[in-house]
């Protein structure tokens, strides 16, 4: 499969990339690892006339953990997320999730920025970013702004990103020490998108759940922040009744399509199973 023709640009700075994007207009696309965009270009579902490769922009790379905030540059690869011991100790659910994405070769190239900015409901990082209440940093010629991951996704491949903007980083508060976490993903095989997946982050204080945040992957045309599901856990001892209420609240917001992964009802059921298992695992890890 041969993609359509395009002109290739590799700017050396973020400013240069932003001005290129402004001058080339809406027929230009930025490319990070390209492992979402290139397959779409091969299918001619995307036919950009200009491709702006961000790989030489050092400002978009790296993980910074300080003053209770974690900032990850958009061009940081999944493999780099997995390899960072600092990130694993501050926020281990990132590594757990990244390891469930695709395979080693794809993770060497695929980036967190591409994963969250593309708007593909099958991608795993968007739901995780919603569970972490992350902000996305968007930069355009008019300056920089932040959009919450919970507000960013409008429909499949439609996001709050405006023409001319580049997603430069994701940023979130370091989860509380001793927090419980789990990302559970049901998939048919390695490399597949989720039949359904759930991210759970919670804290337990003296036997009572004091905070809980749950989000779902690939059971709707956007990632789904399951606010009511998280609220069902807060104040409980994570007893059977509370967990069942959270599972039901999560299932209630799903709207999956029937595909090779199963009929819609099955995928909603699996979403509930993933939420239940992720809560149990997160509760066990919390202290």
């Amino acid at each position: 499969m041969i993609p359509g023709s395009f002109d290739y640009h590799r700017p050396a700075s973020l400013d240069a990339a932003i001005s290129l994007l402004a001058s080339l207009g809406e027929e230009a696309r930025v490319v990070a690892g390209g492992h979402s965009l290139i397959p779409m270009m091969k299918l001619r579902m995307a036919v950009p006339e200009h491709l702006i490769d961000l790989q030489d922009i050092d400002d978009l790379k790296g993980i910074a953990i300080n003053a209770g905030t974690i900032t990850i540059g958009a061009m940081t690869t999944q493999a780099e997320l997995i390899a960072s011991a600092e990130l694993e100790s501050a926020c281990p659910i990132i590594k757990e999730t990244a390891l469930l994405i695709a395979d080693p070769q794809v993770r060497n190239v695929g980036t967190i920025g591409g994963n969250v900015a593309n708007g593909d409901p099958g991608n795993d990082m968007p739901a995780l970013m919603q569970a972490l209440d992350a902000q996305y940093v968007l930069q355009g010629s008019g300056g920089s702004r932040e959009v919450s991951a919970r507000d960013f996704y409008e429909a499949a491949y439609f996001t709050a990103i405006e023409d001319g903007e580049i997603l430069t980083a994701v940023r979130f508060a370091t989860p509380a020490a001793g927090h419980g976490y789990a990302y559970f993903k049901q998939k048919r095989k390695i490399g597949d998108y989720a039949t359904a997946a759930a991210a759970v982050i919670l804290t337990i204080d003296g036997g009572t759940c004091s905070s809980a945040s749950i989000a779902l992957t690939n059971v709707g045309d956007t990632p789904l922040f399951a606010q009511a599901a998280g609220e069902a856990l807060i104040g409980s001892s994570l007893d059977q009744g509370a967990v069942a209420a959270a599972v039901e609240a999560a299932k209630a917001i799903t709207d999956p399509v029937a595909d090779g992964r199963g009929p819609a009802g099955f995928r909603t059921h699996i979403a509930g199973v993933m939420v239940g298992r992720a809560i149990a695992c997160a509760a066990e890890r919390a202290n």
Binding site: I2, F6, D7, I38, L51, N108, G191
Partner: protein
């Protein structure tokens, strides 16, 4: 749409060519450089038959544009054996342990195994299976591939100890 000039070091040799930006790295390697070891299998970044080493990392060359690889160092299956044709320990182990049947996935498997053993010189079988999870084989059921990589690891480690 204008052509671009790309330079890269492939199997130790510097190459410079002009190419259409939409050229995928796998096509560039196979058609411009006549390196037909890396195969086109699924063409959708699933099967790993096109795996090459790019700046010290395994990648799927069917999902990388040639411009993205401009300036890179690339190793293909053709660069794994010695200059005199001596087979790499992985190649010997694949041959001796019946780790291939049709052979279509083998260049990708060995190129991936080559990098895996540099990242983790002493992997468990489980780590090998995860390490090659981006490479599909439709013949062998993987048992002998995992075994061959394990045996190659042992031989490379023994050779390294002997050299020390």
């Amino acid at each position: 749409m204008s052509k671009i000039n790309v330079r890269m070091t492939v199997n130790g040799t510097e190459v410079e060519k002009s190419a259409e930006p939409r050229t995928l790295l796998i096509h560039f390697l196979r058609e411009e450089l006549n390196l037909t070891g890396p195969h086109i299998g699924c063409d959708t970044s699933h099967c790993g038959a096109c795996t090459v080493d790019l700046n010290g990392k395994s990648v799927k060359s069917c999902t990388i544009f040639v411009g993205q690889a401009d300036g890179a160092e690339i190793t293909t299956i053709e660069g794994i054996s010695g200059a005199d044709g001596t087979l790499h320990a992985l190649q010997v182990a694949f041959k001796d342990n019946h780790a291939l049947q049709c052979g279509f996935c083998t260049p990708g498997m060995i190129t991936r195994g080559y990098r895996l053993l540099q990242e983790n010189p002493n992997p468990t079988d489980d780590e090998i299976r995860h390490g090659i999870s981006g490479n599909l084989c439709r013949c062998t059921g993987y048992q002998n591939i995992v075994k061959a990589i394990r045996i190659a690891a042992e031989q490379l480690n023994t050779a390294e100890e002997a050299a020390e």
